[in-house]
Structures are given as structure tokens and as C-alpha cells.
Symmetry: C2
Subunit: 354 residues, 2 copies
């Protein structure tokens, strides 16, 4: 690893505010609060839950204005969901992309509880011609020279499929401020930018929203003038818990010789994970890992295990996931302007001591 | 702010794992879990609470081996404590110091609940000649080429003063893994390196421990060969919530013209805060802020308020705390080899719009 400075102070400010999952926390099925990744575009807003309302309007039969108690009084749904930032892996791209400098740890899994978006939309009555739902958060700031609330739209049909929820609880407690208190959207299988936090409004429309977070951010493109492709579902990725013990500064790993169980997680938004392969020689040779039970449901990461007979020497551990739709992690990153969706395989250097 | 790269990949790895407090979270008296700062020297260990024991031994009359239930059965103490990393402010030092690259946000306040260390030591019976207590954590790694558990010692008298506690709860819930589950030390008023997490053992000794985290880390020195001065209590600091709204990448702030209440927090480990001054012109002129009530107790930060009549233009907001012992924040940093205890005043650039 190079000692050359790569990150400027602006990027460091983002890296400090926005929290990554320490990789050893992959051990937990459900990520403890405080270890789940966190990206806040602007500031975490302070919301008075007693006066807060969720407004549902636009192309609906009966606009709704709901308090937190109103939402809690409705039938609840729960889902364990793995969420990942679309910018995860950005720092591994060359040339360097200046933005939130994620390495590989912008991920986490939570047990969300709330109300079904489909049920609420049914209650409001989606009018003919309504094709999209604009989701508006209470967080405000400036991006691309535009003052804006954080807001994005989704097709009505994506929200009506029945998996998306408006969550007021995370891991059995009230939604923490940083995860969207009092209410956030959770769209299983989609990158995190979709799951709008600190929700204020759902507005039914007859076309997609074209604001900054839709038309500029979160698109895969090679050049500024291109429209590019919108980012939607999470590409497959696997990560392993670095084995052994770390050196404080370099995070280099030392492993005792002998049997060593490598453990990790794999996930994909497009289809379920069907295979994880492991390499201990930097990708020259691969062997299949054992998948754990799919006990957390379709939208959560899958555990995997690999028995490694660790003999003294230097190794580069890699893991690679494949989903049922045939999507597989690439060995090397492919660059794009915003530094999105880099799901190239993880590489962990370890020394097995003599 | 310069766009020149300053941080290398090793430092970024640390910045990603170790979490800072987003400054808007200064608004809460008690920091929500997940927003409190976090520094993990090695890895967060996985601890089986059912087999875990706290061992108290060495120069004691009656060694103790206590389960978590044993500790919970004892009389409980509670304290609201502001904790700060000794390396907070490191990135603002020149020449650059390579380590965890903290800006100014390595701080947080929690309500800790547990047992009094003094009571436990009384129960074990401190033998004549015992001067120090070695506190050993379950986290292991390599630092300065030495494999080690994270461990540090404290004078017996510091622990017998009655304020230090062994905490099994944080903000009313079981200690989260990343904050030291199942048990951690909390020493109010001292920098965070003292409050050893994932405690395994307290060992009474007849001299201070001289391991790596005592003799090398956490000392203020100018050169490698010096012994330097050990770091102990928290130097005074104040921080303000950046007003207005941020730009995503640069974090530059835009404020509406008119009355603007600046709010912040101030704390000191040596003595209570008696004064906070605010400058809107980069430190050229200062005016006193109003201190909030000391309702959280001696060991927590104090809120403060300052009414600013924001007129269109460019400003540099600063705040400076002074404690009852006469300690005051300096206007400029003073450098040391490890990059510790830089409590120079915060500077926040804001634009008041026309």
C-alpha cells in the first residue's frame, strides 16, 4: 500500500462524518446500531416528532397527513435488509474520484420495522396517470450549486411490489436520528440513496423527478455531458472478516499457522446469492465457500465459510460472489465519473507467522 | 481549504473504521448511540458474555472473579460523561502527523451505568504497597512491532477518588460491542485512552505499567528519544454547531441574514467551564457566550449560546473555552510528535447570503 497522500481535507471531512462498518462487524447477522454504515448528504436534521407529519399528496384520491402515532397504529411489517452505498469502493478507482472516500465498508444490515408503502399508497388511492413517487426528506443543503432538500423519485410499481417500507424502528428501537428519525424509506435490494431518510412527503406524479439527486448524482457515466444510466439495484459483493490480528496503523494482518476459518457475507440486490468463491493467492486459483443458511430472508446478506489451512508465508485473500441472475463480481474495478458501483473483489493481505 | 492530498490510504482506513461525531450532533445533551466518537486500536472483539469474567487480582487481599450478573447485582452508579480522544485535532497540526486523522469531532457524551471502581477495589482489599492498577482489555493487535493486548495503568488513588466506574450500560441499553461490551472502564475527565474497553482484568501492582500504550503512545514529546509527559486530563475545548446549511462536498456553510443563535458545547477535565467566548471575525474580537445550565453534572459538557446578528458577508466563527483552573484554549496549535492534545480554537467559515 502506497504512503502517497491521496485524500484531501474536504474528503477527510466526509470520511469523518460518514461512518463505515469495521469489517470485523460482518460477524453479526444484524449490524449493531453504531456500526451500520452511514452517509448523510447534508446535516442530520433535528425533528420534533410531536409536530412532524408525513404528507402523502399529488396524484392521489385522498391526500393523507399522518403523525408518528397514526403510523404506529397501522399494521406493522418487518424486514432484515442489507443496505449499501452506491459509492462503496470509490477509493479503489483510478483516476481518483473526489467525493465521499469509501473503501469497501459502506454496508450494514438492520432489522427495520414500519408500515408497508404499498398499503399506504392503496389507502391514499393512486390516481390514473400517476407513474412516480417523489420522496422528500427534511435534510437541506447545497449540491452542484443548487440549494435543495434531499429528494428522489421511484416508479410507483417499484413501491407497489410490496417490499418497500416506511421504517420507524431499527433493530427493535426507535429510529436513531442519524438513520432518519422519525421515518425513513427502506427499499430492499436497492442502493442506499433510494432509501430517503427524515421523510416529509410522498408526492405522486406523472413523470420521474429530474432534480439533482436523479439527473446528476447516482448515474453511471464516463463524461460530464452524458446522461448515463441511473443506479438502481445493488450489484453482488462479498466481504470477509480479515483474519488474525491487525497492526494499529497499517491494518496489516498476522495469522497463526494452522486451520483458519475464513468467514464473510455476500449479497446482491438483483437475485439471491448462489455462490461465493475464495482465493488465498490473489485470484490465481479459487475454491468454493460454504454458504450459511438463508435465515435472514431474501433481502439480507448471506453468511459464508471457508476452511483455510494457513501455512507460514504471505497471502492475498479474495472472495467473489455470484447471484442467481448470473451477475458476478469483477476482478478489477471499472471506472466511472461519480465513482459508483465498484464491486470488484476485496483483497486482504495477510502474513501467516512461522 | 487546500485541495492538496494530505491523507494516505492507511490513514483513510483508520478514518473509516473510527467514527467522529458529526458536529450538528452537539445539539443533543447525551449523544445518541452511533454518533458518539469511536476509536478502536485493534479489532472489536467478539465476547461471549455467558463465559466472560472480570478478574481482579495482583496485590489484593481477596482476588475476585465476577460475571456480568455478579456486577449487575451490585449497587449501580450512573454518570453523564463527555469523552474525547487525546488525538482530537491532530489533522490541524503542521508538519502532518500520520495516525488516526482526527479533525475536531472525536468527542461524545454518554450516560454510563455500572459499578464504582472504588467499591470493587475496597471489596477486593487493596494491599499495602499497591500503587497502580493495570487494566487489560480483550482486544489484541500489533503496535510499534509489539504484539499486545490493549492495556494501560492508572494510580490507585485516581481510581479510589470515587468517580471512575465500570460500565455495562450506555444511554440505558447494554453496552454496544464497539463501546466495550460487556464491560469498560469510564474515567470522567480523562482522555479516552484511559477508559479501557472490553475489560478482562484489573491487576494491582507496586509500580506503573510501562507497556507500549504507556511508555510510547499518549505522551507529549517533541522527539522520539524523549520520555515526554504522559497525557491525563482533558484540556478545555469548545465546539459550535455550524449554522445554516452545508454544501455536500466542501461542507462550506450558507446562513440566512438576520438573527442567528449560535449554539455549542464546552468541556474540560481539569475544572468546570467558567467562560466561553465567541468571535465572528476569526479571533480579532471576542464576546462572551451565555452558558447553559450545568444540569448534566460536572463530567459532562456545558451548553452555550450566542446571539449573532448575521449580516451579508464572509465570516470565520470561533469559540474559546476557559475553565475554573484558568486553562484556556490557544488560538493556534502547538505541535508534538504523536499529534496529541491540540485544543486550538475551532474555525468555521460561513457565508451570510444577501
Amino acid at each position: 500500500m502506497s504512503d502517497t497522500p491521496l485524500i484531501n481535507l474536504q474528503e477527510l471531512q466526509l470520511a469523518a462524518r460518514n461512518h463505515a462498518l469495521p469489517l470485523e462487524a460482518l460477524r453479526w447477522d444484524v449490524t449493531p446500531i453504531g456500526l451500520h454504515y452511514l452517509l448523510t448528504h447534508f446535516d442530520i436534521p433535528e425533528v420534533d416528532a410531536s409536530s412532524w407529519r408525513l404528507e402523502i399528496g399529488g396524484l392521489v384520491e385522498a391526500p393523507l397527513s399522518l403523525s408518528l402515532d397514526d403510523l404506529r397504529a397501522r399494521s406493522a411489517v418487518e424486514a432484515v435488509v442489507t443496505m449499501e452505498c452506491a459509492g462503496n469502493g470509490r477509493v479503489h478507482l483510478e483516476p481518483h474520484v473526489v467525493s465521499q472516500p469509501w473503501l469497501l465498508e459502506a454496508v450494514g444490515t438492520a432489522r427495520w420495522r414500519g408500515v408497508s408503502v404499498a398499503e399506504l399508497l392503496d389507502e391514499a388511492g393512486v390516481r390514473d396517470g400517476a407513474t412516480d413517487v417523489l420522496l422528500t426528506g427534511l435534510d437541506r443543503g447545497v449540491e452542484g450549486d443548487e440549494e435543495q432538500a434531499y429528494e428522489r423519485s421511484l416508479p410507483v410499481e417499484t413501491l407497489m411490489e410490496g417490499h418497500a417500507l416506511l421504517a420507524y424502528e431499527m433493530n427493535g428501537v426507535a429510529l436513531p436520528p442519524q438513520h432518519g428519525f422519525p421515518l425513513r424509506l427502506v427499499v430492499p435490494g436497492w442502493y442506499g440513496m433510494t432509501s430517503v431518510k427524515w421523510l416529509a412527503r410522498l408526492t405522486l406524479r406523472d413523470e420521474p423527478f429530474d432534480g439533482y439527486q436523479m439527473s446528476h448524482s447516482y448515474r453511471v457515466r464516463q463524461e460530464e455531458h452524458e446522461a448515463g444510466d441511473p443506479i438502481t439495484r445493488i450489484a453482488p459483493r462479498s466481504l470477509l472478516v480479515p483474519p488474525g490480528i491487525p497492526e494499529f496503523l497499517t491494518r496489516s494482518r498476522v495469522v497463526e499457522p494452522g486451520p483458519c476459518e475464513l468467514v464473510g457475507r455476500a449479497w446482491s440486490g438483483a437475485a439471491e446469492i448462489v455462490e461465493v468463491d475464495v482465493s488465498v493467492d490473489g485470484g490465481a486459483t479459487w475454491a468454493g465457500a460454504e454458504l450459511g443458511p438463508a435465515a435472514l430472508g431474501r433481502w439480507a446478506w448471506r453468511s459464508w465459510f471457508f476452511e483455510w489451512d494457513a501455512q507460514p508465508g504471505e497471502y492475498e485473500l479474495c472472495c467473489r460472489a455470484r447471484d442467481a441472475a448470473g451477475n458476478e463480481q469483477p476482478l478489477r474495478p471499472s471506472w466511472n465519473l461519480g465513482g459508483y458501483v465498484n464491486n470488484a473483489v476485496q483483497r486482504v493481505a495477510v502474513t501467516v507467522s512461522a
